[in-house]
Symmetry: C2
Subunit: 641 residues, 2 copies
């Protein structure tokens, strides 16, 4: 056996013993060391780099490692153990690590998104009251002439207080009832869940004082998980936070995750990665932030794509991947969170926004709910730029959706220096046409360590605008910031090691640009196919609502310039943040909204792009800057001219 030490760049280490020939990435997973591996270890992404500190490793040389190989960098997936070894796991490589980040709820952007949402829900006539009700009851004490049993007495009082026709007093409540009634002179404060005229009691306590009654709305994205802790009595957001989805080490996209789920203990591993490693720490941080005990969370609403909700629930997702692509469910009865190892209030349930297809899930139905396109006669479009790009088109009359596999590029994946829109990410960029020097906006106003989605759009648009790259994304100018490697692959250096926050250069290569062009091509061709499938044209669109983790800094002009969105007047575009999370919030806090969500799921049609004639041609034609058919982008031609 050999001793393998994983030393974290940010401090701390983990030791594990390995047999000769064991794969270093597998070993890291075994040791619960998070190494980013979007391609799930097939050597194609070049993300799982670690640095050899001492000892030996048997490693393949990789295209992804240039001179860095000589500096000791290795790809974990391409390395096997052949002796004692110590490797450093860089923090930059673990940008997807389950590190919790809470949002500043006083920031204007955060305030705007949820204030608008609450206003929209009110405008739509939705009652701002969810299924979880809080109320007080007061009873006459029993006497020799009034010997009704405690549960009947209590139920009668609950019916009177709530108007419910039927009351369920669960066993754990019944056990507490006799003493609690008598200790509080037959006056109690209750929390209950109302559905179809029946109320199920979830908590009883003294009527004196108040205790918080909270809910949790979560968007489980393939790459990023975001949540808000909500006061269910007011709808106020008490805390907000996000984290990388811990499943990322089992692959960047849903297909790789499903493949990993088929391996031994895969169902449990994938479920643990999202629940134990991601949701539980996130919930803990949110509760600490708001000063609320977890047991005061009475409801959890989750919006996620179909694969993510299968993996979350520990349900085999393989049948989503293989013909005829059948999910276990579209609509799910709420599940006790306890059954998933999430300990909130004893009877707290998790509800999942309904899926409508194997590749159009609850994230999209929830997003469609939150973006309100069903509430206007104007033709509108929701574009959710997640790892899967999902698009909903329609208005109050109809809704049609489709999904395309854009890959993680919009959240900074599949890009050598890509990262989520967190501290150190370049979120905007302008490149001087002459000097080719960049001017960058970095989140947190620190030295750059990588590029988030909005930054990548800007960089590619500016490189194209400055004539540094051509329509194919190939470098056609030379300069101090333009490098070529031994295979003649060009790259643009945004920050040299001395300019960066990590001591390593931040750059974008032709490979990265190519990945991104394919991602934007997938989105654009999906948009066009969806619109034209119904005989519409893009100019009929009144509103284009862009959602997702790409970041609020997205420059719509540049997104059009690179041919990602149709060439429409800029005022038609708006960035609406995380619409999936907003939808989860809406279903959590408004019964009317939850009902509307069901309507949306029932009525929304789904266009399967892969069987749609012309989609593949449209995609190939869109893999160009801005597009092989320049007439689709007159404003870009105008600008170039």
């Amino acid at each position: 056996m050999h001793k393998v030490i994983f030393q974290f760049e940010s401090g701390g280490d983990v030791t594990i013993f390995a047999a000769p020939g064991e794969n270093l990435l597998e070993l890291a997973r075994k040791a619960n060391v998070v190494i980013d591996a979007p391609c799930s270890g097939n050597g194609s992404c070049g993300k799982c780099r670690v640095k050899l500190m001492s000892g030996t490793l048997k490693s393949n040389k990789s295209l992804h490692l240039d001179s860095e190989f000589n500096e000791g960098w290795r790809l974990a997936c391409g390395s096997t153990v052949n002796g004692d070894v110590k490797v450093m796991v860089p923090d930059i490589a673990s940008a997807y690590k389950s590190r919790m980040k809470t949002a500043d709820l006083s920031s204007p952007e955060e305030v705007r998104i949820f204030t608008e949402l609450q206003e929209n829900l009110r405008t739509a006539g939705f009652n701002q009251s969810g299924q979880i009700k809080t109320f007080s009851v007061r009873m006459d004490a029993p006497t020799l002439d009034d010997t009704m049993p405690d549960n009947e007495r209590f139920s009668r009082a609950v019916r009177e207080a709530t108007g419910a026709g039927h009351v369920i007093v669960p066993f754990f409540i019944l056990r507490k009832l006799p003493d609690l009634l008598r200790d509080n002179d037959f006056a109690l404060r209750c929390v209950g869940e109302l559905f179809d005229g029946t109320i199920e009691i979830m908590d009883i306590s003294s009527d004196a004082g108040t205790v918080p009654v909270c809910g949790l709305a979560v968007d489980i994205g393939t790459t990023t998980v975001s949540g808000v802790l909500v006061d269910l009595q007011t709808g106020d957001i008490l805390a907000k936070g996000s984290a990388g989805n811990g499943q990322i080490r089992y692959g960047a996209d849903v297909i790789n995750r499903i493949i990993e789920q088929q391996k031994t203990d895969g169902i449990e591993k994938l479920q643990n990665a999202i629940i134990k490693e991601t949701l539980l720490p996130l919930i803990e941080v949110l509760c600490l932030d708001a000063g609320v005990p977890q047991k005061r969370i009475f409801r959890m609403a989750v919006a996620s794509n179909t694969t993510m909700n299968h993996l979350l629930l520990g349900i085999n997702a393989n049948h989503l991947r293989t013909e005829p692509y059948i999910p276990a469910f579209f609509r799910l009865r709420p599940v006790l969170t306890r059954a998933l190892g999430i300990e909130l209030a004893p009877a707290a349930k998790l509800s999942v926004a309904p899926n409508i297809g194997s590749y159009v899930g609850g994230d999209i139905t929830a997003g469609a709910l939150a973006c309100m396109i069903w509430n206007t006669g104007d033709l509108s479009m929701l574009i959710d730029l997640g790892t899967n790009g999902e698009i909903v088109f329609g208005n109050s009359e109809f809704l049609i959706s489709c999904a395309c596999s854009a890959g993680p590029a919009f959240e900074g994946g599949d890009i050598s220096c890509g990262m989520r829109a967190t501290h150190g990410a370049i979120e905007a960029c302008v490149i001087d046409r002459d000097t080719m020097e960049p001017r960058m906006t970095v989140i947190g106003d620190i030295r750059p360590v990588g590029l988030c989605g909005s930054g990548i759009i800007d960089v590619i648009a500016e490189l194209f605008r400055a004539g540094i790259i051509n329509g194919k994304g190939k470098f056609i100018r030379e300069g101090r910031r333009i490098k070529r490697d031994e295979f003649d692959i060009g790259s643009y250096v945004l920050a040299f090691p001395e300019e960066s926050g990590s001591g390593r250069p931040v750059s974008i290569s032709e490979v990265d640009i190519d990945n991104f062009i394919r991602a934007k091509g997938a989105i654009f061709s999906a948009i066009m196919t969806l619109i034209t499938s119904l005989g519409f044209t893009p100019d009929m669109l009144e509103h284009v609502l862009v959602a997702g983790g790409i970041g609020s800094g997205i420059n719509m002009r540049n997104a059009v310039y690179i041919g990602m969105f149709p060439d429409l007047p800029l005022e038609k575009f708006s960035y609406i943040g995380n619409s999936s999370l907003a939808g989860a919030y809406a279903m959590l806090t408004s019964e009317d909204a939850a009902g509307k969500l069901e309507d949306i799921a029932r009525s929304m049609t789904y266009l399967e792009l892969s069987t749609q004639p012309g989609y593949m041609d449209a995609f190939v034609a869109a893999c160009f800057l801005p597009h092989t058919d320049g007439t689709l982008f007159p404003s870009v031609s105008d600008e170039v001219t």
Copy 2:
């Protein structure tokens, strides 16, 4: 600290360390050593005897211990530790110990009771089908043109197979569904629970072969617990068994148990005594006997008095005992058995026969259901001789009930040599008028070790008939079998040490007779008060159905002779066994019967004897053999003449 060793007569021992002055009975409870203590340790019953083997004990001398004190016998409740000590815990003293006893299902008596019950249910027009349904479903496999999710496809098939309007697929079933469907070509065998047109799936498996689908009916008596394991598809009884209620060591009657429940951890202790120490071993034995895995039990039906069902569920029963005597519930929503630590099928629920008062519980509503008195125009009476005597009077037009505290005498408690109707119990007896020698029938045809209820009735009747005791139960003849102790308390020796199975004498004393006379007096006065309260007279009764653990050997003539039952023609009496268990069986196996049980509980009225004018006088008058008013028992006068 002193070392205390409890050595069991039947082998094995338990060691515990104790502080000086600790009470031996308390210590035994702490060490989980079962010592019979019907009076809960107040020194009045004399049952908790242990034998000092070595070391020392500080013990009070007790009236209950005569010469036996010198032989080393001590009452555990009256002894405290003052040094290292070893005591022997006799098996005879632990006759109530949770020792499992399974019934011989081929015995004519067992066959008769359940065959009659099944016939009665059929005659009443009840569908012999409970809420638990077993059925097969077969679906078309999904295709690209038929992409309905698994849960919807399955639910549709279940609706078609069962006619249910709504299908609940619980989470644990949903998780198994995708793979099980595909492994079995979309054909499954299902178990589901049907209620109000909704079916909740409880189990899915391959459609090939058959697996048992069982239910469990249990009567939880204050003294004895009995259960039957039932094949829910046929109604057949697969195993039957009984055990002492492990709570007996916390007191013989419900009042003492409730008092114990108020002590530290009392709720948990009483609940553990019935669940962990009684029900779980009983279920294990029944399942072993029938060769059925516990996880194939899908439903459990319990009939028990109001206190017993509170203690079972871990609900504070103190409010039953204190004015205004309020139970936590009459009717209970079925509770997951898992929530009680009873691991059967994952979704198995326990349903409890409804109570109608603090002292008339589900045992009586279940008994009234099973004895069918609601199905005839004839005036009938059900007399359930448990620790609480409960009586139901009426016919298809009305039902009225009352309860009286008879004490455990009918099950052999409160009687120095009393025992349950198991091996070694004298169940019948004739005493020669001249020689005063007894001829006895002993269960199991072995040497006698004690007296069960029916035996006590016979012995007292025969002692009275032979003029050995007078109407007050005092000995008025002398002979070799009649002994008097130092306090001049007479007793009759049924078996001298050399004749008995335990090496200790089996006898009945004036104290025992007095206890029994009070028990039978309570029953007789309750019967009379109930009948006369409505203006009826006993001779209007057509059927007197006697139920309870007193044993099938009960001699009705003798029961009338001692004034326990009204003086009616003997053909009007019948012994119907354990009507409470039979009722639990009926509610388990027939939805119609379960519905009828609810009707009975709603319509049955309750007569509170303690507030009924004349009841106390009637009781005092009945505490005589056969009664102070001899005209009530003309047949006894005739016989004496």
